[in-house]
């Protein structure tokens, strides 16, 4: 009865834009219907929590901060020495399951699904567009597929995840999403872009 709405609903009506030479070199859109849960341990309980999460999800956790491990449609990101962000799709919401698996003395579980909006950009020039605002090295040697970083984009916090050689996902705070969207589409102007809402049903 209550319908979910995207913070980018208003910009849906905006059109695609031709860039230099009348070309549309990029695709930009929003991905919806995903869940995010943060799991964190206290320093003394880090190993215990990792075991618990591994057992609950049946996966190996990525060892390095900045690495993500994909398991089916789940993506596990190590965001700190004792902290993970876990993305899942659709009805696969594991927050409640983790909440019951992780005892309060072991760590915390916080559902963050609604806190962020996922804007994606795809195309051979996507890296160039992002380099106009992101001050981290996006070279594929340093930041290949399944790499992510928590950093800033145009004065606001962002989690950037590289989902393929040419595609990046920006998880921006929901309340800054329109600001970031306006910046991103403006930065992409000379390249031209096609807006793509197929992932935002």
């Amino acid at each position: 009865m209550l319908e979910r709405s995207s913070v980018l609903a208003r910009v849906r009506s905006e059109g695609s834009r031709d860039g230099t030479g009348g070309l549309r070199r990029l695709r930009i859109g929003e991905t919806r219907d995903w869940n995010l849960v943060q799991v964190a341990a206290f320093s003394a309980t880090a190993a215990e929590l990792e075991d618990t999460v591994c057992a609950a999800l049946g996966v190996e956790l990525p060892a390095r901060v900045g690495d993500a491990a994909a398991v089916g449609t789940r993506l596990l990101c190590r965001t700190g020495a004792e902290q993970f962000w876990i993305f899942t799709r659709g009805s696969d919401d594991i927050a409640a399951a983790l909440q019951s698996a992780v005892a309060p003395a072991m760590g915390s579980v916080t559902a963050l699904s609604h806190s962020r909006t996922c804007i994606w950009i795809d195309g051979a020039h996507s890296r160039e567009v992002l380099a106009r605002g992101l001050s981290i090295d996006l070279d594929s040697d340093a930041f290949g597929p399944h790499s992510f970083a928590l950093t800033g984009l145009h004065h606001t916090p962002v989690m950037i995840l590289r989902s393929s050689a040419t595609r990046f996902e920006l998880y921006v705070l929901r309340t800054f999403a329109v600001w970031t969207w306006e910046w991103l589409t403006d930065a992409a102007l000379p390249y031209g872009y096609e807006l793509d809402w197929t992932e935002s049903a």
Binding site: G66, T79, G80, A81, S135, D137, T151, P157
Partner: protein, 105 residues
């Protein structure tokens, strides 16, 4: 531009961080009923020339508080560690051969 090496996230521009004050000072025990100690902690600061210990928070990254040893005269960063692991230690290294102006190693 000052670049700081977050032990969690790697080297980033200082604009991702937030300066948080003098890390050489020890905060008095929470329940300490010692007006003088609190006064000195809150109001008295040294203006250090040379290697200084500072708190910085990686605000746009992992949100961890760090202890950064920075030479206030040259802006050379000598060391960066998590505040959690640094609190209570007072080790201070003088900038020498190891201190480089490097950006992103």
């Amino acid at each position: 531009m000052l670049r700081l090496s977050c032990p969690i996230c790697g080297t980033r521009d200082y604009t991702e961080f937030h300066y948080g004050g003098d890390a050489r000072k020890r905060r008095p025990e929470h329940a300490a009923a010692d007006l003088k100690a609190w006064h000195d902690y809150v109001f008295l600061f040294d203006n250090v020339k040379g290697v200084h210990r500072e708190f910085w928070q990686h605000l746009l990254g992992c949100r961890q508080w760090l202890v950064v040893e920075r030479d206030t005269a040259s802006n050379v960063v000598v060391s960066t560690v998590l505040a959690r692991s640094a609190v209570g230690t007072t080790a201070s290294v003088s900038p020498g051969a190891g201190a480089s102006r490097e950006g992103n190693t």
